[in-house]
Amino acid sequence: MRARVTLAAVAALAVLAASGCAGDSSPLPGRPSESAAPAPTNPATAVDTSCNPRASLRPAGALPAPGRMPAGSYMAAIQKRGRLVLGTSQDTLLFSSRNPFSGKVEGFDVDMARQIAAAIFGDPNKIQIKVIAYDKRVSSAVDGSVDLVADTMTANCARWKDVNFSSIYYEAGQKVLVSSASAARSIEDLGGKKVCAAKGSTSFDNIAKVAAKPIPVARPGFGDCLVAFQQNEVDAISTDDTILIGLAAQDPYAKVVGPRYTEEPYGMAMSNAHPEFTRFVNAVLAKNRANGTWKSTYERWLGDFGAAPQPPVAQYRD
């Protein structure tokens, strides 16, 4: 009975607090990877530079008209099913979080996926949102339980071995969130202080690599980090600036400081079993970069924090 209670508790933990978690390690189960090692004790975790993680597959020709996906393609399979299954989180404010008023999951990442649904069906609402734990993002794309992962997910070479990424749709980097009364100007000023990040994330690993030696504290998700911050259990939170902006927006006594000390290019992940789908997604992204949709989406969600920058330039490996 006790074991079942614990099991249920672990599941409940993943529940409302499935973490947003950009920049985290999400290895396939059973496959060894550098990021799965206990990184905080191993600051020399090698960065896999065997590829250009920003380069994706080049779109093939013009986009098919919505509702007329080429026969035999994965898009036709999605069209036949009647909905695009998106894997994301529900507590990364501004990117993909649950709107407490309506109960809908919404944000920049969700809109990116809705634009894909619109290109397939002509209707952005033909989408099913499935919340996945941050360490299930790679495996969910591989096993086909979701069609697409858009979840502040960093494209890196380790993950490229298992999944295809779309071209980059957002450039993030790790910063630090502190109390508005804090004198700290970057993570380097937080030596000996407790800094929170999601358990198993590379954000968490990165904290331990900082020369000033802050103390990394793990919580199930970044929402839980904010709870810990508000209850004075930790002094700061460090992860991708995008997530921090969302957290700071919920707490007037918090501010995001410092330069980005890592680079986190976001891509949408999908199975590499059907490259035509990756090319299709890239074609939609290219169209939306060109016609201003990317810019208006940025302004809708992130406009409060400054004017929209130029969208990341698409790079292709073929």
Binding site: M1, R2, R4, V5, T6, L7, A8, A9, V10, A11, A12, L13, A14, V15, L16, A17, A18, G82, R83, V85, Q90, D91, L93, S97, R98, N99, P100, F101, S102, G103, V105, Q128, I129, K130, V131, I132, A133, S145, P220, G221, G223, D224, L226, V227, Q230, G246, L247, Q250, D251
Partner: protein, 440 residues
């Protein structure tokens, strides 16, 4: 030991003990001496019987009172704590699923749950000794309940302002509930269950009762043998005081036997018709609430079927078995019809749940949430827990009645037992002294 040794200064203890033995041996050789010995034996046996009668009934009375006033109520309170906490957690998750401002009905239900849990916790603390497993669980629960309430309050304040961090507060609260509060309540429940078992053993006081029966038999036999001896050695057939003493002993034996047999019969009724069904029903209610919690948390997680859905299926199997057992134990009456109705309601609820899963799995999340927290499913589910609650109340009443009856007569017997034994002493003394005086 030889007589020669008696004249020598020896160890202080050896002399009196040797003296008594010697004295007894000498008394046995004369008729008045034998009578004196018999008198001493009868008086000692009667006094011992009186003492044991008092102790037996006192122990049985204390055990019965402890079972009725402490152990069984503690079990009921432990179940209240567990189910109130589980229901509070489920209610909070449902309010979250509803979106927007929490529905008033759910807020009220959550607050009622928390009130019930804290009230039960306070009275459980009164019924628990200060050290031990139960006391530790109660201390932990008291500390965690206030932390839990504070987390939920923060969740609601944040939710009211439209901040998603409210969900993280709720998740922390839920984790606290499922990882600490509910397991501690479970510990308390198990401890209370074993205390009820101990309570029945203490109330039956089997060793004392067996000793009392032996002593009463010995006393009766001794009285009868004494009278046979007297009627053989003297010309009188009956020794009136000894006849009366025998009658008084018989009255004592019948009275004690009657009270103790009735106590045991009522205890056994209280166990089979009260405690056992109460335990079954309490576990059933816990299982039902667990199902509902699994359903709400699965939807809140929004990640399709996972460990919680597996847990739902396992719990459903358990609950079916528990209700089948309950139906066997309670075939008729209020409890019987409530259990039948709960079984039927549970089947309907599981059908609704299967529909919820089907909707969610086919991509209609909003439809699944609407069905799960909609009034029809809620009513079906509340019907199940209400039915179980009705049966539970019925069985609690049966238990109280039986325990009340079991305790009846034990109090008077605690006083009367020793008094009757003293009377037997006095009568034996009177009866034998008359014969002794004939030798003067």
């Amino acid at each position: 030991m030889s007589t020669a040794q008696l004249d020598r200064p020896g160890p202080a203890v050896a002399k009196p003990s040797g003296g008594v033995l010697h004295h007894v041996a000498r008394l046995r050789r004369t008729s008045p001496g034998r009578l004196q010995l018999i008198l001493a034996g009868l008086v000692a046996l009667a006094l011992l019987t009186g003492l044991v009668a008092g102790l037996t009934t006192a122990s049985a009375a204390a055990g019965t009172a402890d079972l009725g006033n402490r152990a069984q109520p503690l079990l009921v309170e432990a179940e209240t704590i567990y189910s109130a906490l589980a229901d509070a957690d489920t209610t909070a998750a449902q309010a979250f699923l509803a979106g927007g401002l929490e529905p008033t009905a759910l807020t009220r239900r959550y607050e009622d749950d928390l009130d019930r849990a804290t009230t039960a916790l306070t009275s459980a603390a009164r019924r628990t000794p200060e050290t031990g497993r139960s006391a530790d669980a109660i201390r932990q629960l008291s500390a965690d309940v206030s932390r839990y309430a504070a987390l939920v309050a923060s969740a609601r304040a944040n939710n009211r302002q439209g901040l998603p961090v409210g969900a993280a507060y709720l998740s922390s609260a839920s984790t606290l509930s499922r990882e600490s509060l509910q397991p501690q309540a479970q510990v308390l429940f198990k401890a209370a269950q074993s205390e009820v078992g101990d309570g029945y053993r203490a109330a039956r006081s089997s060793w004392w009762t067996a000793l009392l029966v032996l002593l009463l038999l010995a006393l009766l036999t001794a009285l009868v043998l004494t009278q046979r001896h007297l009627s053989r050695t003297t010309r009188r057939t009956f020794n009136v005081p000894l006849v009366v003493a025998t009658a008084v002993t018989l009255v004592l034996a019948l009275g004690a036997g009657g009270v103790l047999i009735s106590q045991r019969a009522h205890l056994s009724e209280a166990d089979t018709e009260g405690s056992w069904p109460v335990a079954l029903l309490a576990e059933s209610r816990i299982a039902a609430l667990r199902e509902r919690g699994d359903e709400a948390l699965t939807l809140a997680a929004r990640s399709g079927e996972g460990a919680l859905e597996t847990d739902f299926d396992q719990t459903t199997g358990q609950l079916d078995e528990l209700l089948a057992d309950a139906a066997e134990v309670m075939p008729d009456g209020t409890a019987g019809s409530s259990v039948r109705s709960a079984t039927q309601g549970h089947q309907n609820y599981v059908r609704a749940h299967d529909q919820v899963r089907k909707l969610d799995n086919s991509g209609d999340y909003d439809g699944a949430v609407a069905l799960a927290i909609g009034s029809r499913t809620s009513q079906t589910f509340t019907g199940v827990t209400d039915d179980i609650g009705r049966a539970l109340q019925d069985r609690k009443d049966v238990f109280s009645d039986e325990i009340g009856s079991a305790g009846r007569g034990l109090g008077p017997l605690t006083v009367l037992g020793p008094l009757l034994a003293l009377l037997v002493c006095g009568l034996a003394f009177a009866g034998i002294r008359a014969r002794l005086e004939e030798y003067r």
